[in-house]
Amino acid sequence: MQVPAQFEYARATSVAHAIDLLRRHGPESRLVAGGHSLIPMMKLRIANPETLIDINDLAELTRIGLDSGLLRIGALVRHAELLDSAVVGEHFAIFRDAERVIADPIVRNWGTVGGSLCQADPSEDLSAAFSAVRAIAVIQGADGERTVPVREFHTGPYQTVVGAAEILTELRVPIRPGGGSAYTKVERRAGDWAVAAAGAVLWLDGNTVSDVGIGLTAVGAAHFAAEEAEDFLRGRPATEESFAAAGRIAAAHCNPVADQRGPVDYKRHLAGELTTRALRRAAARAAGAAVETEGA
């Protein structure tokens, strides 16, 4: 039986209180949201915080809403809430697609959006989805609020720009008409982490790709993105040939490592193929087609 080492526990009653607790308890203190990444790491003694600051009471971080052209998603929104949100599904099917295949329904009831991004696991699905849509992360500290593009949020495996006495409060996604998006993942079995996964958002001007975002996870892509493939596609016709070529570029520029989920060449192949599939589905949705979310 594995249990965490000893620690102190404090419950935050507001964002300001959480920041104050982080400051008072110092660098060995950690926020806990769903705890579905942190508690397993504490059981393995990979993480040994001296103090846990529980942010589950912060109702101010649980909202999903539309506000002057932005989709705003609170850091404490649970995976299941993101999956079920009609407004999210209407504007960004990529999140519905991704959430259908993140962990399992019970884990999704408790794990949070903010915890996923801050965990910064190199195989995290939402990091790739938010990277694809070029979301903005809102971070609060004692001196106020700052915003950071999600593509600059992760500084390495398990590392982010969030400081020791800061808290991620919200993700903001700019909404632009004429777009479509999708996410597609290969896992070893239902509920597992990705062997590889790709997300795409695409805007069409007639049959021309006017803008595009591509996110990749589990394959060592810088910033969870395939920027070279995006640059290639912009201004090109939205055709099978373009999407296949973009997939090949994404595959060439990512940097997977071999592990129990597969060897490098297989993961690279998947990065390309899944990029192409995500683009194809995103383009169909941008053109107004109803494309079902794939099952888990």
Partner: protein, 159 residues
Amino acid sequence: MQITVTVNGAERTVEVEPRLLLVHLLRDHLGLTGTHWGCDTSNCGTCVVWFDGTPVKSCTVLAAMADGHEVRTVEDLATADGLDPIQQAFSDHHGLQCGFCTPGMLMTGRWLLDRNPDPSEQEIREAISGQVCRCTGYQNIVRSVRAAAELSQVKGARA
């Protein structure tokens, strides 16, 4: 630290270490051994209980997080009138072999039926996809949940 948790409708005040997991609070401190504990990786789901009405893996929630909240365990399913339809259906349709995964399956199954009284086989499989049956009795588990849906509908129609 002292916590007060409403477990199956009754307030329980307990002195605990912050590192105590909810599953161990239930089993070791409150004697509610119906909830099982089966892995260290948050994968098996035999520990599923309801937290404020939503199923969670209680091995991955701190007891301290439940302070001031409501927890419902498998012990709360049966009433003075007898078994919950989901329990009756598992009994009738051989939904358990060794029974180790059963508490989690029952709590998830009950929740699914409360939200979706007429789930398809696919919806049932998806709902229990985060739970493992080492006896691999999935066929009968799915059949049992389906039968519980039908049992409840018959009862509802009679009432």
